[in-house]
């Protein structure tokens, strides 16, 4: 086949089929988030006398969260690259860092929720807060499940090395993790930034 110097030919195997199948799942998850976004967009003004976005959102804090998750998406990408090249050390290093950053993100988000709940500004107060907690909470739940999956795979790599099956699973995790950061871009922009304007 004619290829450019920076390209290589890859055969369609169970790996590419798994990646495509997982991609279809991720697209369906996008539709789920789209419906949560639609609900939030419709109900964002329904504060029922309670607080609005500008009352409760702390922008510097959210910027910190955003940059942490973005960096974890980057380290995750490096980790998948390392796995595909068979570099076990680099894979473990990258994914451990991804896990630490991801866990930090979840911790920050939980502290934000805890603060709101402590002030009595929970999801039961208004339609705006209900949709906010649901949208951001669903994303946080996805991240948490991704972290559990990541932990299991890291342990797998440490114990049994980079087998074909483990590498394939790391690729799927990579797709999942990148997708979560992309959803967060929209949460950051639409919920927090536009919510304050």
């Amino acid at each position: 086949m004619n290829t450019f110097p920076h390209e290589q030919v890859v055969e369609h195997t169970s790996e590419t089929r798994a990646v495509f199948g997982f991609w279809v799942y991720v697209m369906s998850d996008c539709v789920l988030f789209a419906s949560l976004f639609a609900v939030f967009a419709v109900l964002r003004m329904s504060t029922f006398g309670g607080p609005s976005g500008s009352d409760i959102f702390d922008l510097p804090f959210v910027l910190k969260e955003t940059l942490i998750l973005l960096t974890s998406s980057f380290t995750c990408g490096l980790g998948v690259l390392a796995a595909r090249s068979g570099d076990r050390r680099a894979t473990i290093f990258s994914f451990v860092w991804t896990f630490i950053l991801g866990a930090a993100f979840v911790a920050l988000e939980l502290s934000e929720f805890a603060q709101l709940l402590a002030r009595g500004e929970g999801p039961q107060v208004s339609a705006f807060l209900s949709s906010y907690f649901t949208l951001v909470g669903t994303h946080g739940l996805h991240v948490t499940l991704g972290l559990i999956w990541m932990l299991i795979l890291i342990v797998r790599v440490v114990q049994s090395g980079l087998t074909r099956s483990t590498t394939r699973k790391l690729m799927l995790l990579g797709i999942f993790w990148h997708f979560l950061d992309i959803i967060w871009i929209f949460i950051f922009s639409i919920v927090y930034l536009i919510g304050v304007v």
């Binding site: 639609a38 967009a41 490096l78 990148h178 950051f188």
Partner: protein, 126 residues
């Protein structure tokens, strides 16, 4: 030869991909911080600001999809792009449709309940 072509993809090399990730990462930081600064320092009037933030978000999303998820970089990945396009269509209909319908419904809820009943009796419903 023809059979071989149908069962392979052409993907960028590892060294080229590291470059992609770095560029994607740097660009995403730029978009994020720019959007943040625009809001935090009130640099634009409200209408323009909202449009700009949305554009920055879409731009960052596109960059991350290409650089991190390698969308469109692989040859012979038509099916992947098709699925993505379809999902995008559903998302657009969901969000635009919800906003339109709810806005339309809200417009009809402007009157007090007693006025509403009179209106409905006169006009025969909506």
């Amino acid at each position: 030869m023809k059979n071989q072509r149908e069962h392979v993809s052409v993907v960028p090399h590892r060294s080229a991909l590291v470059g992609f990730y770095l560029v994607g990462f740097a660009f995403s930081i730029l978009c994020t911080v720019s959007a943040y600064i625009l809001v935090a320092w009130h640099l634009l009037p409200q209408g323009v600001l909202i449009a700009t933030i949305l554009e920055l978000a879409l731009l960052q999303c596109a960059v991350q999809m290409v650089c991190f998820l390698h969308l469109g970089l692989e040859k012979h990945s038509h099916l992947k792009l098709l699925v993505f396009g379809f999902a995008l269509l559903i998302v657009a209909i969901l969000i635009a449709g919800s906003l339109w319908i709810m806005h339309n419904l809200n417009e009809h809820m402007v009157m007090a309940p007693s006025q509403m009943e009179l209106y409905m009796r006169h006009e025969g419903g909506f």
